[in-house]
């Protein structure tokens, strides 16, 4: 896309080759004007980049209330398994800090907190079983307020306030009060300092970002050295038979479900189209490596319907 704009401008400048500096200046102004309206994809349609961000915002504003219900309906509940797999691969150590970007309704955040808490309980139980007489340090650690060890915490960041609102409601209904914070922010320009987080996840959100490489660079910036980047995203199905079934299901069933359950055909049409536009597993791995991540690998879930990419900042 950028290349086509460049060739267009080159042909233009060749046409105007003989003219004076004044005209060349106007060309420059025209060229910079064109750059602001670089186009990108919004599903299968082409829109300008500035438009895409606001269109995506509107999509998620509309679906926020029915987001979780629709997830269950569209994926037949399998999205829970995908998110569980993400947590298992992540295997967070006690005291880890997670930044969940585009984590609107908080699925990953809740799972993370549960995982870390059950791990801590298991460790405590193991210590008790070993029959060690606890030192005063251990006894004071077991008190909820005490302990010097850093507690695990999650920061949920999303560009969309509606999604965060739904997430906060869910947290309240589950009774989760500590270790969780909600921040409005753009994945391409995170409102955090460098080297803040041990883990960065973005589950089913990165395909909605306008500049993926920018989001990856930001992820690299906010991660601590040794930190891990995990991305869960719809990807290319490897099996051709499954691919045909998946296509039929995506384009015939999902928008209908969207209309029936959420009353919004177009948003779900966008969802399905944006999945097709996203780079496949190897391409995304290449993007991650170009942005500066090491030990990049991916795992295909459900035959390639979803891919889990992992990289480290070393």
């Amino acid at each position: 896309m950028a290349a086509s704009v460049r060739t267009f401008v080159r042909s233009l400048s060749r046409k105007n080759a003989g003219f004076s500096a004044v005209l060349r200046l106007s060309d420059c102004r025209w060229f910079s004007g064109k750059a602001e309206e670089r186009s990108t994809h919004f599903g299968f349609e082409t829109v300008s980049e500035t438009e895409k961000a606001s269109k995506v915002y509107k999509v998620f504003e509309n679906v926020a209330q029915k987001y979780d219900v629709m997830n269950d309906a569209m994926s037949l509940g399998i999205h829970r398994l995908w998110k569980d797999a993400l947590l298992h691969v992540m295997h967070p150590q006690p005291g880890a800090r997670l930044l969940d970007v585009a984590g609107g309704t908080g699925d990953i955040a809740f799972r993370f907190l549960e995982y870390v808490r059950s791990q801590q309980e298991r460790q405590q139980r193991r210590a008790v079983l070993l029959g060690q007489t606890p030192s005063w340090q251990d006894v004071s650690d077991r008190y909820p307020d005490g302990g010097g060890a850093p507690e695990s915490a999650v920061v949920v960041c999303d560009i969309n306030k509606e999604m965060l609102k739904v997430g906060r409601q869910r947290a309240d209904s589950r009774g989760v009060t500590t270790g969780l914070s909600w921040v409005v922010g753009d994945a391409e320009e995170l409102p955090f300092n460098d080297d803040q987080f041990d883990l960065y996840t973005i589950a089913f959100g990165i395909r909605n970002v306008t500049h993926i490489d920018q989001a990856l660079k930001e992820a690299l910036r906010v991660l601590k050295p040794g930190g891990r980047f995990l991305c869960l995203e719809f990807s290319k199905v490897t099996n051709p038979v499954l691919e045909r079934l998946y296509d039929v299901y995506s384009f015939q069933v999902i928008p209908v479900l969207g209309e029936v359950i959420a009353g919004d055909w177009k948003s779900y049409q966008y969802l399905v189209e944006s999945i097709r536009k996203f780079p496949d597993q190897e391409e995304f791995k290449g993007l991650m490596e170009d942005s500066g991540f090491f030990c990049v690998q991916y795992f295909n879930l459900t035959g390639g319907v979803v891919a889990l990419h992992s990289g480290f900042k070393l």
Binding site: L199, R228, F312
Partner: protein, 327 residues
């Protein structure tokens, strides 16, 4: 520096190739038949202790080339098992790199495995506290200033840690044995008898486990897990091979296998005794080791005696048969 490392590796590979192409040194040991192989091996133990001094001087030029080949080979193995011993001196090495900004990207890419090795080495400190587990690796990573999330790089976490430690110990032992070998060749030290050499080598190697003795049973059980068995067997066979090599073994027949099998047995049983030994400074273990090696030596002498007696008896019978047949 990266190109230097690559050049070293290439040179090492070439030397290895040269070593392979050179014919193995033939010893003047007669071939033994399969069913006597074991007794022959035990006998060689005794023979070599006498003939070692005679043969070593004659085979020293070729043995030194083998020595070089072996060092290059073990250096390759070490780098393959993710622990190049020269990169272990990272504090000094890193300071030299830190100034060279242009090589930063290159060096970072080359040292993904080196970084993993560094994390595992740092994790060893925390093993007495957390056992051989992911928590120890996380603590190790944090002590290096990295996030605990970097433990995700180790898919076989605790297995990786134990295998790294074993490879480390093997490398240290090889260094010590090479050092001793050099000193003997320079005439600064006396050459030991084979049985004494084996005993000292096994003791040195087992003493490396002493700081981790409480958690060693856990480590042993980790090594026995099915997905770790190939690697742990590889390390064990390398260890035994190294020890026999520096003991002076140059056999090219069945003895090669039987010797290593005998030493593997001695090593494993001594390790097991050590794990449940509570005597001061593991004296019981060293006594056990002495007895096992003595057993092997005794078996060798007995085997020799049996063979010579057998030959004498056979000759006597043959003579008697001839006499009877003529009369």
């Amino acid at each position: 520096m990266a190109t230097l490392l690559r050049g070293l590796r290439a040179a090492g590979a070439l030397r290895g190739l040269g070593g392979v192409l050179a014919p193995p040194t033939a010893t003047n040991l007669p071939l033994c038949r399969l069913w006597r192989g074991f007794y022959c091996a035990a006998r060689r133990l005794q023979d070599e202790s006498k003939s070692d001094r005679a043969s070593s001087s004659s085979s020293s030029p070729s043995s030194s080339s083998f020595h070089q080949h072996y060092q290059a080979h073990s250096a390759e193995q070490d780098s393959a098992s993710q622990h190049p011993s020269d990169s272990a001196e990272t504090p000094a090495g890193r300071v030299a790199y830190a100034d060279d900004q242009s090589e930063d990207q290159d060096e970072e890419y080359e040292s993904e495995e080196q970084l993993q090795a560094r994390i595992l080495t740092a994790a060893l400190e925390f093993v007495p506290l957390h056992g051989w587990s992911m928590e120890a690796i996380a603590a190790g990573a944090e002590s290096l200033g990295l996030s605990s999330a970097s433990t995700g790089m180790f898919t076989n976490g605790s297995g990786d840690l134990v295998l790294h430690f074993i490879a480390d110990c093997n490398a240290k032992l090889t260094e010590i044995l090479a050092e001793q070998h050099n000193r003997v060749q320079l005439g600064q030290a006396e050459k030991k008898k084979t049985s004494e050499f084996l005993r000292d080598a096994v003791e040195t190697r087992l003493r490396m486990y002493v700081p981790y003795m409480e958690t060693w049973p856990q480590a042993m059980s980790l090594l026995l897990l099915p997905h770790n068995i190939p690697d742990s067997l590889k390390h064990l066979s390398n260890l035994v091979d190294d020890i026999w090599y520096y003991a002076g073994d140059r056999s090219t027949d069945m003895n090669w296998y039987t010797k290593r099998a005998v030493l593997t047995g001695i090593y494993n049983t001594t390790e097991l005794v050590m794990v449940q030994d509570s005597s001061p400074d593991f004296q019981d273990t060293w006594a056990f080791l002495d007895n096992r090696i003595q057993d092997v030596v005794n078996m060798a002498t007995t085997a020799k005696q049996v063979q010579s007696t057998g030959e004498a008896v056979v000759q006597g019978l043959m003579g008697a048969a001839v006499t009877v047949s003529f009369s």
